[in-house]
Symmetry: C2
Subunit: 431 residues, 2 copies
């Protein structure tokens, strides 16, 4: 007998225990924290982009490290310029010149009525407290005439103006960006301490699946959701992916692949076989070998997203459907993993648009609705992206973005303003 | 003599020839196209993220590849269900069952009053044109009673509904995302043809520069802008970076490093030494060894961004100042490189905010103004992010985002709405 008696009823009973997205994330974070030991490693800064800092990094030095000139001109004692005007210039002796890279003591200490010619970035000589721009002076032999009274620290970049020694440069749990790398470099740090990359096993299941590049027999289809989930994980930037080939829907084969794969991974994500119907092989493996954390979430699509534990390691179950897997990953797995590291996913592009066709929710669910945008040149309008099958990849690739509808909202009516998260696959060349 | 006589005047004359940002991009694209030969390579799809497709990719097969069931239920001939109701069900003989992965001919051809039990995703048997859900039927022995009349293709995913064979899946110049990789996989494509990665040489110059990790002598500073530019290039995802150690401000050393480095690169980006003052060593190398494309751009910061040609290879010159280098890269180099590949940079996160403190421009310049956001819970407010030195990295790391002011706009007044590009370094936890 291929199907259970009245599977509709079985399914309903089974999934009636589904929890909310936020409960699922909370449980997942708890399980991830209990099962994964966070370790820190030191890596070169130029390989640290998107890695997550494992500690608060304090500035070891001031930035800039020393007072320096913000312009090309003459370093002076500001007190010497008191009363200087175009008609009554102050005359100072240029004793020496300094450029960026010169030691601050190159010209000795600046005394009464002395000036030092400085290039932009040159250290301020001892005794000087300001810089006169070329435009406010005239050189006459070994002297300059200064035409303007200047205040202390005029045209000076002061030590510590950018960052002060001891100030926190980067907090724990920061996902490092280009600019953090620049900051670490300017602090002289060659290496940075980050969390070691998470190792995630991906196990696609399904007797119908064939690897891309192989011959497609009738009734089979190419395995692709595993490629999407692997790419989403890699895109996060701090996760190593071990992707297995598709396993047929046999409990023993799935069990074997999962147990073996988990030996070298921190967690597993299985793809496919997640609905409680004919092919709940992953569920049966968890039933026999592990524990359930949650089975099903009030999420659309992605209702069958589940989490179990095998050998004390988290096993997320995602649908084989690419759109449901994307929603389950985005709503639950991604935020949970970031929270494990006391971090949060980076800001994604979004715009505000006016609803032009009602966007409907199912009561109690959090929905990820793919949408199409249009524009009248003044503002954007948004409506559900309708295609025959909402489970198709084209609903992501051809849509402009998506709208997340919270559990307590029944939908958005025409005229309401909503936030549209943009798929960066498409630019906003809307009609 | 360290400085030229009246360098202020020299500088003004020199930079008076500056061109607009759009003219600079246009010239840069022309030069890139003339000097860089685009070559295509085949790479495995799971290493193709962010690479740029070098050709239009047509779907070799339909997606889904065959008609299949969208639900668990019974495949039927819709004509057999005409007139079926709860009180007058139609009786059909269940001849066989099929699941995903089974060949479509497993159960033979469906004839009058026959049904085939099917799992979600199972191919539709020949002769069937619709699927009855479990909920609309009752199994009685080898028969089912169908309670509802259904239309052709009800509960069927039709071949080609997602993508049709021959349809363009990915256009030339597309920067591949997670979902493109999923699409390529589901089309059975193991490899994809993309442009070979661009090779960019980065040469920081400046006698004051010390590599991170080394001892900082008085008057020196750590080289960091080169790390930022290298990370920006790597982040684009299709560029290989060769980063040299800082070269002191000596024409012969810079010339030697540049000529040697360019042998293995498609283009160079020099950092520092870009102002026409005391240390215009890169300019002197272009003067003696190459040709100028443009010197200076009406861009703030980043006014000294320039482009020359050495041995027919483009040499971009960026300021040593991290903020000016970021602006020059973002306004000119990045869009030019994307245009070389008939592509454009991905959408960046942005929000609309109301100006709460005037944001000023300098006439004729395109300005990248770092801004701070606040919120009253209803909407966002934006004002310039003010720190002592606008050239400091903290103006990027501590600001929320930036506003781009076009050349023809003098500034934004209080109350105006502007688009704020967000630095993904900071989340919108605004006061």
């Amino acid at each position: 007998m291929l199907f259970r008696e009245k599977p509709g009823v079985v399914m309903q009973k089974f999934w009636s225990k589904t929890i909310s997205v936020s409960e699922a994330v909370e449980l997942a974070v708890k399980i991830l924290k209990e099962s994964i030991e966070l370790k820190a490693i030191d890596i070169p800064i130029d390989r640290s982009i998107k890695m997550i800092s494992s500690e608060s990094i304090k500035c070891p030095i001031d930035l800039p490290p020393y007072n320096n000139s913000a312009v090309d001109g003459y370093a002076v004692r500001s007190i010497d310029t008191i009363g200087a005007t175009q008609l009554n210039p102050v005359k100072l002796r240029v004793k020496c010149s300094m450029d960026t890279g010169d030691p601050p003591d190159k010209c000795g200490v600046l005394r009464d009525s002395e000036a030092v010619e400085v290039g932009t970035g040159a250290p301020l000589p001892e005794g000087a407290d300001a810089v006169v721009m070329y435009e406010d002076s005239l050189k006459v032999g070994d002297y300059i005439e200064v035409f303007r009274q200047i205040a202390p620290f005029d045209n000076v970049n002061r030590a510590g103006d950018d960052f002060k020694a001891g100030e926190e440069a980067i907090s724990e749990g920061t996902q490092l960006t280009v600019f953090h790398i620049g900051l670490l470099a300017s602090l002289g740090l060659k290496n940075v301490r980050v969390y070691r990359p998470l190792k995630a096993l991906i196990l696609p299941t399904g007797s119908e699946l064939v690897e891309p590049g192989e011959l497609l027999q009738l009734g089979k289809k190419y395995s692709s959701t595993d490629y999407i989930v692997a790419s989403l994980l890699r895109e996060a930037g701090f996760i190593k992916v071990i992707k297995l080939s598709p396993t047929p829907d046999h409990v023993e084969e799935v069990k074997k692949a999962l147990l073996k794969g988990l030996e070298k991974a921190d967690l597993a994500i299985t793809i496919g076989g997640s609905s409680i119907g004919s092919r709940d092989v992953v569920h049966r493996v968890i039933d026999s070998e592990g524990l359930w954390v949650f089975r099903g979430v009030a999420l659309r699509p992605g209702r069958t997203t589940s989490l179990g534990l095998i050998n004390r390691k988290p096993v997320f179950i995602l649908s084989g459907n690419p759109v449901a897997a994307w929603a389950g990953f985005t709503a639950i797995i991604k935020p949970s993993i970031y929270k494990l590291y006391r971090s949060s996913p980076p800001v994604e592009p979004s715009i505000v648009a006016t609803v032009s066709e009602r966007i409907v929710n199912v009561a109690g669910y959090r929905s990820y609705v793919r949408v199409a945008l249009s524009s009248n040149g003044l503002k954007y309008f948004v409506k559900p992206y309708m295609i025959h099958g909402s489970s198709y990849l084209s609903s992501i690739i051809k849509a402009h973005g998506y709208v997340v509808i919270p559990e307590e909202v029944e939908g958005y009516d025409v005229g309401e303003e909503v936030v549209v998260q943009l798929f960066t696959t498409r630019h906003l060349h809307v009609a």
